[in-house]
Amino acid sequence: MTDPQSLNVGDQLPTFVRATELAHWNRYAAVNDEFVPIHMDDAAGQAAGYPSAFGMGHLQWSYFHNLLRSWMGETGRIVSVSCQFRGPNIKGQTVTAQGVITGTRQEGNELLVEADLWTDEQSHSQLAIGKAVVAFPL
């Protein structure tokens, strides 16, 4: 469990890593009813201008949330998250969700922690960037 009193600007969040391929995307398609050819079929991904089928943007979004949840524990509360997609998560990439604390402030009986978030793949090209605010009770 994260101790909010120990958090400092510049601290890095523990990473969330997944070697992504159709096994991940098909499961996400199944729960989100998102059966789109570009996420399931290499030919469809290539027709859209990419080297292969590629993962859903919303799954990168979930990876941001997984990163935050595993870091903050069950006492923390996600206040806000934003995300911009910068590149496709193509087959065979190892995706790492990461974050760094950029600010802290107290509001009432909560500590609000701001963080920059991003996902990249094994050659460090960014796939998504974003920001989050998480609240911890004091």
Binding site: R18, A23, H24, R27, Y28, A30, V31, N32, D33, E34, V36, I38, A48, G49, M56, G57, H58, L59, W61, S62, Y63, H65, N66, R69, S70, E74, T75, R77, I78, V79, S80, V81, S82, C83, Q84, F85
Partner: protein, 172 residues
């Protein structure tokens, strides 16, 4: 060349849809958590009721980004009730508004921004109201790209806000 027609500009601010979910089930939550955590097991908070009672949440809750509207809605109203476009059709927004299609071939999720309210719990019935917020366009690697922002507010059966979001759709 521009994708943005007078009809599209005139449609800004229009309510695109109102959806009401079926009651959220523990099974829906568990399966979502399994999928987004795959291949690791999901946190106990999302599937173990006994454990979840011991947490600050007091019981099972859904992951914040859980979608209760996948696989049908209990109620669904679109702006134009005479058409039911395929959501995977890149022109589905304009078709749903009953205005001429901009003739787009592909769509991508360009970004999301969310402010969260109360958590979703098993049994909750969630209502979504979405609005067309803006159109813009710029040249990209794959040609002219149309950026469309959709605002969406979710509330539960007690009218508590679950989340407010803005989603940017990139189409070309």
């Amino acid at each position: 060349m521009s994708y943005i027609s007078d009809e599209m500009n005139a449609a800004l601010g229009t309510r695109l849809s109102r959806k009401v979910s079926f009651p959220v089930s523990e099974s829906d939550i568990r399966r979502w958590a399994i999928a987004v955590m795959w291949p690791e097991p999901p946190p106990s908070l999302f599937w173990d009721a006994t454990y979840a009672k011991t947490t600050p949440q007091g019981g099972i809750v859904a992951p914040e980004e859980f979608n209760p509207f996948a696989w049908m809605c209990a109620e669904s109203e679109s702006h134009d009730t005479t058409v039911t476009p395929d959501p995977n059709d890149p022109n589905h927004l304009e078709l749903a508004l009953g205005i001429p299609s901009p003739g787009l071939q592909f769509q991508l999720n360009g970004g999301i921004s969310v402010e969260y309210g109360v958590r979703m719990h098993p049994g909750d019935v969630i209502t979504s109201e979405s609005f067309l917020a803006s159109y813009s366009e710029r040249e990209g690697r794959l040609g002219l790209m149309l950026f469309t922002v959709i605002e969406d507010v979710w509330t539960n059966q007690n009218r508590d806000v679950v989340k407010r979001s803005e989603t940017t759709l990139i189409r070309y």
